[in-house]
């Protein structure tokens, strides 16, 4: 088996958390190597700037790896899952295709056991994470408006908010009439030039890659900076096993390179950043002497407690033509009116809403991916004229409480293109989550009607909506009930860390990437601070 230059720190996965950790450790002088199964993206390939973009969004740039089917994607058996997991495999990871909606979790999210008697409390508080939110906001280039009364007072985002448009104004006025919260959205999308990057020019295709580079993705915001400091990023490298030495410490990983050659990469410290499905898969693949059920799995919780934020959509059709094919697509306006627990609603916790134009060009209006049906004949033309440029949507999702039966396992027969066992996902939407969604979409329909919608279509739950993958290697102080400690270090292997969304104790009810990045930076700071105490293989 071929070898490569030993590293201080080896990171598996070049997405959001891998990028944050890689840059921080490179800045601290560590010799960092990252193995990424995907490739670098060329923004010239992003389809938003081409006529065919809506077709490309359905296939090559789909967020579903089973639809995309690129060689670097691994298959996922989700036949027994209520929600299909979505992701992107490449430098930047799923930040390439995310919407850039960048809310923070709320203080209550860290204390759901104490406040609501469900789930578990996190081993850290909102206040402890806040400084890291501030720092990653600056690294990514976040646009937003301070002062949202749904949150404790916080620093100004580095950039002013993106426009909310006439459509956002309409919804804002409606919420003021209803007495409901609203606030301009926070986005990891530049509203002004920032650190050498150009601002948003409204391509309206954020979720197929930003041609302008205005949307933060770690292939732009972190890896070039880390590489400039000496970090090595090896693409086309599919890691399939973490190797332990005789002392029980990790000595490195085995991977298959782009030519199909089996290789070993050694390091003093191994950091897993492959998302909550990829990381769980790798830990399970790494079963070995002393770890018969998967590496660092003495608790039996590796792969369990998978959370994916079931997602509903409410779409309003308005008489006004809002030119909804333009502008950023993630969030114009957000609403946290129904986020916190209220006793008489019949569920605990609540939902967060993001209002955005119903994205896409005329193909999406004719062939809706969310609410609405295909209509043919002469009426087709009337319907497209009614819809195209006239539709706004509330995306609604909420707390997805952990359940040990929701899990990632290794599939007995499915393999990736390198012959490595693929993951199988079992996931059921809980009754509490269904009630949160039902309540949320009903209120969101009221919102759009109040804002002037002449027609409201509801998709109570979208199956292809598993953008937020969390919880399969939860953090905690007790090795019997958690996989990693409050600093991301696995309880059972002292030099093995997990830094991605796997460590989430509960899901919160907001888009998780902001929190994933803040946690990753906190873990990396700790690695730097404790470097002299870190045991490493001989």
């Amino acid at each position: 088996m071929s070898g490569a230059q030993h590293a201080d720190v080896l990171i598996v996965g070049a997405g959001a958390s891998g990028g944050v950790v890689g840059r921080r450790l490179a800045e601290a002088g560590f010799d960092v190597v990252c193995l990424e199964q995907g490739r670098w993206q060329d923004p010239a390939d992003y389809p938003g700037q081409y006529a065919e973009w809506e077709l490309a969004a359905q296939r090559r740039w789909s967020s579903d790896p089973m639809v995309r089917g690129l060689p670097e994607d691994y298959p996922i058996d989700a036949t027994d899952s209520d929600v299909v997991p979505l992701m992107y495999n490449g430098v930047g990871g799923s930040t390439i295709l995310y919407a850039g909606d960048w809310p923070r979790m709320l203080p209550s999210d860290f204390r759901v056991r104490s406040l609501d008697g469900v789930g578990d409390d996190w081993p850290l508080s909102y206040a402890e994470l806040e400084p890291y939110y501030d720092r990653t906001d600056r690294e990514m280039g976040v646009s937003g408006l301070a002062g949202d009364p749904a949150y404790p007072p916080a620093s100004d985002p580095p950039l002013p908010p993106l426009p909310i448009g006439a459509e956002g104004m309409a919804v804002a006025r409606a919420h003021n009439r209803l007495g409901w919260h609203w606030w301009p959205g926070r986005s990891a999308i530049l509203s002004a030039p920032y650190q050498g990057r150009r601002p948003c020019v409204g391509w309206g295709a954020c979720m197929q890659g930003c041609p302008e580079g205005a949307k933060a993705s770690t292939d732009l915001t972190h890896w070039p900076q880390a590489q400039a400091l000496g970090a090595r990023l090896i693409t086309g490298a599919r890691v399939h096993r973490v190797v332990l030495g005789p002392t029980g410490l990790a000595t490195g990983v085995e991977y298959v390179d782009a030519e199909g050659v089996e290789r070993f990469q050694g390091a003093d410290v191994v950091v897993l950043a492959g998302n909550a499905i990829g990381t769980a898969r790798l830990l399970l693949l790494s079963a070995q002497a002393g770890h018969p059920d998967g590496l660092a799995n003495g608790s039996g919780l590796v792969g369990r407690r998978l959370m994916m934020h079931p997602f509903g959509v409410v779409t309003g059709t308005f008489p006004e033509r809002y030119e909804t094919w333009r502008g950023h697509v993630g969030v114009r306006v957000t609403c946290l009116e129904f986020y916190e627990t209220v006793e008489d609603r019949g569920f605990v916790r609540g939902s967060k809403w993001s209002m955005a134009p119903s994205t896409g060009g005329p193909l999406n209006a004719a062939m809706p991916s969310r609410a609405g049906d295909l209509v043919w004949g002469a009426d087709h033309h009337l319907l497209v004229r009614e819809r195209f440029g006239h539709m706004l949507s509330w995306g609604v999702f909420g707390e997805d409480l952990p359940d040990v039966e929701n899990r990632v396992e290794l599939d007995g027969s499915l393999r990736d293109s390198s012959g490595i066992p693929a993951p199988r996902v079992t996931y059921r939407v809980s009754e509490n989550s269904r009630r949160i969604l039902d309540f949320g979409v009903a209120r969101a329909a009221e919102s759009l009607s109040e804002a002037g919608a002449t027609r409201v279509d509801v998709t109570p739950m979208l199956r292809h909506s598993g953008w937020h993958i969390m919880g399969t290697a939860r953090m905690g102080s007790d090795p019997a009930t958690s996989v990693v400690d409050p600093w991301g270090r696995t309880h059972e292997v002292e030099n093995l860390y997990v830094v991605d969304g796997s460590v989430f104790v509960t899901s919160g009810g907001v888009n998780p990437t902001s929190t994933i990045c803040a946690l990753a930076l906190r873990f990396a700071d700790r690695m730097v601070a404790t470097r002299r105490d870190q045991r490493v293989p001989a």
């Binding site: 389809p47 700037q49 081409y50 006529a51 065919e52 973009w53 077709l55 490309a56 296939r59 090559r60 709320l106 203080p107 209550s108 860290f110 204390r111 104490s114 406040l115 009364p149 749904a150 002013p160 908010p161 993106l162 426009p163 956002g168 104004m169 804002a172 919420h175 003021n176 007495g179 919260h181 606030w183 301009p184 509203s191 002004a192 601002p199 948003c200 020019v201 409204g202 391509w203 302008e212 094919w325 333009r326 950023h328 986020y339 916190e340 627990t341 060009g361 005329p362 004719a366 062939m367 043919w376 004949g377 002469a378 087709h380 033309h381 009337l382 497209v384 004229r385 195209f388 440029g389």
Partner: protein, 150 residues
């Protein structure tokens, strides 16, 4: 995926004249001339637009050909329902080919007032919602988050 932006027209797709005729016929049932919009065949859905779509999505070619062999254009919209049941992949390909070809037409885009995706700087001028005082009632309510015991 191969993009056609700024490049020469794509080569003809491997769909023979008979299949193109059937496509034109069923496409006109789905998208007839009405309400100021042209029929699908009039904007080349079975001709140059088909070549563009299949150039971008060659994976659609086989299911489309299977669909065209199975569908009876004379059966009208019912043919599509029958096809959806017998061959979901063929039905999906036929729908995408007809709609994508239609809505890529410059004539159709112009009729809809759609310029395509374009780039224009966003404005961060003093927001109108601040000028209008829309945030005032939100702020006047005060904080709405719960404070944990710690």
């Amino acid at each position: 995926m191969t993009f056609s932006w700024g490049s020469a027209p794509p080569p003809p797709a491997p769909v023979d004249d008979g299949a193109r005729s059937r496509l034109a016929a069923i496409a006109d049932v789905l998208l007839p001339e009405a309400h100021g919009m042209p029929a699908a065949s009039r904007v080349g859905v079975a001709e140059e637009q088909l070549d563009r779509v299949l150039h971008a999505r060659p994976d659609l070619t086989l299911p489309l050909l299977e669909a065209l062999a199975a569908v009876d254009p004379d059966a009208g919209e019912a043919a599509l329902a029958t096809l959806a049941e017998a061959s979901p992949a063929g039905h999906g390909a036929l729908v995408v080919v007809v709609l994508a070809g239609y809505y890529w037409s410059e004539q159709v885009k112009a009729l809809l007032g759609y310029p395509g995706q374009t780039a224009a700087p966003v404005s961060t001028a003093f927001p109108a919602y601040v000028q209008e005082g829309l945030l005032d009632p939100v702020l006047e309510r005060g904080e709405i988050y719960r404070r944990p015991p710690d």
